[in-house]
Symmetry: C2
Subunit: 434 residues, 2 copies
């Protein structure tokens, strides 16, 4: 783990209050009015256009190879290159964009060609997602939800042995800003034995960390927990929108299906493992009596530095709040430290049966709630399954999401003055059901 | 529904005992020694090379459009064209390959160029699979498995309302002939409270119908049950290999995960909806007391002809049986008539929440068992969860699959003399765990 230090950039907006100082350099796919999607790096309030910079001769060697792999407007092939070209690209970007860069004038001479304002850029999914897997490693969430069903025995017997996960729907993952159409579906009204069909009445968010898989593995060849870092390209925020009433009726015996597959939102910037390096932490000690992970999930380096200290926040903005110019209401302030399993353990578990992971696969962590009120990562937990209403400054109350409500996820890694980094936002607004 | 009739082909092997008479014309992707994957049609013991036939000027209009869409060695773009070009291609193929075809000599003049022996062709997956969904519509299987856990109440309350399904792993679907590496994983030994890690000891097959999705839908726009036919490209056999011991320990609360994701095998030929038209049947009458489907799942034409009469067979061939030249042992003889929901209902349900389906998505029906002994579509059912051993002519016994065992799925639609069609095989042999 390196120290959190701050290096100034000649891009002035990168030196103030921003998610994207020089230390971050997250990768993404953007387009400008009418243009084709292309790769870029967020820096302050600008996007550094990697394709244009390659054409301007600013990259060669491994960094050039990295940018060349992005030429089809997707990061998959770049992800598949593994760690070395990614690190080379980062080092070259630090060189190009730091305050005393010898290339500053050359870049600035191109005007906005190489550094368009982020406000003019439309963000896309960073990669073609082949498979999306949603885990359940937020132990506080598992306990909170378990309590609603089994007050005396909230955690199932496998929880502390198995990094529980399930296959999600890849086709409906969309970037931040995509509206959320309220789904229709079957639900079982309280006290009834026959379901009805109609709009979801218990629409919820789930606060998750997203993980982009880098280099894949061959079918039948597991990834060891100690080798997982080579297979992890980066991170994002993920909102696993959930229709609780549809879920309750459909999920036995094979798990959630239509209650989750109408939309999954991700923040569009891929925050790299390198940017997060200073915010790595040892895995929180397991409470006394908890079992040790089985050997295939155990790695000393992972135990020592496989967790992250990332602050996670959820905000709610209703139609009335927007009209009254009220600030967004904070629903959740949580942290990635509530993950019971590390990302390396998730990768090792997922592939231990020989399952093939591919570059551009997406993992969700599962909802990351803390143990305290104010730290709960879903309305299901905050309102105790719809029993307790949330009061808003607009005079409104909420148990679940209403049409017009917008949910905003944010994340922040806190370093010394100026050295904090963020993830950008993951937003979505609810549209009425069809 | 049309009558089952038989038209002779000038390809002689198509007129005898074959899965692929002129009435079938299934589509697939094949390659020959060192060549690139290309599209073809199975006819008798030959493969009609569509790309080569296009170059020879044998297709124009909508049929030409259909073959042109296959030029990248995948059927996705062709699937996405919907029904009309597929029907045009079928009509043209019937014209080209029937006994009195005016083009017979032109085609034969090319020798084996247009009609290589199937034995020389390696088959590939017909499409890039974006998402794979496994349903659970085999009600006899659901009851048989339910009885093992809940003898008095085998079916859960949602079963007769919801076409139950879950997201599967797309990256590990492979064509027939791919070996099955026995997976390692966590299992809970009987009577223990802590799991162990090692090779699966209860490896099983599951006999399923596979469905290839044709034209996709936009996010948020459900497909009506009456429109589903436009979105279904064709059918195959599917073996949902299952690690029962891993499944039992991992599946609560989010469903099967690693117990299914090590491999899923499919037969490589896409049997079209048109070829299956004569084998359509009314949906079996729901037993007295069963609820009517909710309106979004109900369509008169689907009720009248949305089911299929397809005979399904599973054979086992062990290493010792191969050495002793014994014939394969039939484990299962079942039928698609045991589907409680039609394929159109599966499509309508899957998309009713706005979930986007894409051309090349794969559905599994779920295990299709019949009610009688001899009709069970998995060893879990046949051996009652490993209690009753199967005796083989080789003197061996089986409760679950052993290394070296090969499972072969076959399917047959029985018409009048000569007018039966088959699906080809879906085979897989078990390799020892790593």
């Amino acid at each position: 783990m390196s120290q959190v230090s701050f290096t100034r950039s000649w891009v002035e907006s990168a030196n103030g209050h921003t998610d994207f100082p020089l230390q971050n350099l997250p990768l993404g796919i953007f387009s400008m009015a009418g243009g084709a999607p292309r790769s870029g790096v967020a820096i302050g309030d600008r996007v550094f256009d990697l394709q244009a910079a390659l054409q301007a001769g600013l990259f060669d060697g491994a960094a050039g190879e990295a940018v060349t792999a992005m030429e089809n407007g997707q990061l998959n092939a770049f992800f598949d290159l593994g760690r070395t070209p990614r690190v080379a690209l980062r080092e070259r970007l630090l060189e190009l964009l730091r305050e005393d860069s010898p290339l500053r004038e050359k870049i600035q001479a191109e005007g906005e060609t190489l550094l368009p304002p982020a406000a003019d850029c439309q963000m896309h999914l960073p990669a073609k997602i082949n498979d999306y897997t949603d885990f359940y490693v937020g132990i506080e969430h598992a306990q909170n939800v378990g309590k609603l069903f089994r007050p005396d025995n909230p955690l199932l017997p496998n929880y502390k042995y198995v990094p529980i996960g399930y296959h999600g729907r890849a086709s409906t993952v969309r970037p931040s800003g995509t509206d959320v159409r309220r789904p229709n579906g079957q639900t079982l009204p309280a006290g009834q034995t026959e379901p009805t069909f109609g709009p979801c009445a218990r629409l919820d968010y789930e606060l998750e960390l997203g993980i982009w898989i880098g280099k894949g593995n061959a079918l039948g060849e597991p990834i060891a927990v100690g080798d997982a870092a080579e297979h992890i390209a980066g991170f994002c925020l993920l909102n696993d929108w959930s229709a609780r009433d549809i879920q309750a009726w459909e999920y036995q015996p094979l798990g959630p299906f239509l209650s989750k597959s109408f939309l999954t939102s991700v923040s569009p910037w891929v925050v790299t493992a390198e940017a997060l390096e200073p915010f790595r932490r040892p895995q929180p000690a397991r409470p006394e009596g908890d079992p040790q992970p089985l050997p295939y999930l155990l790695d000393k380096r992972d135990q020592a530095g496989g967790a992250f200290d990332i602050e996670l926040e959820v905000l709610l903005l209703t139609e009335a709040m927007r009209e009254q110019n009220l600030p967004a209401h904070r629903l959740t302030l949580s942290n990635t430290q509530y993950m019971y399993w590390t990302v390396a353990q998730m990768v090792a578990h997922h592939s231990v049966n020989g399952c093939q992971l591919q570059a551009g696969d997406l993992f969700g962590s599962g909802t990351l709630s803390g143990p305290e009120s104010g730290q709960f990562g879903s309305l299901l937990e905050i309102t105790e399954g719809g029993k307790k209403a949330i009061e808003l400054a607009s005079g409104e109350v909420r148990k679940f999401l209403e049409d017009g409500d917008e949910i905003i996820l944010r994340a922040r890694c806190r370093g010394e003055a100026g050295a904090s980094i963020g993830f950008g936002e993951c937003r979505g607004k609810i549209l009425p059901a069809r």
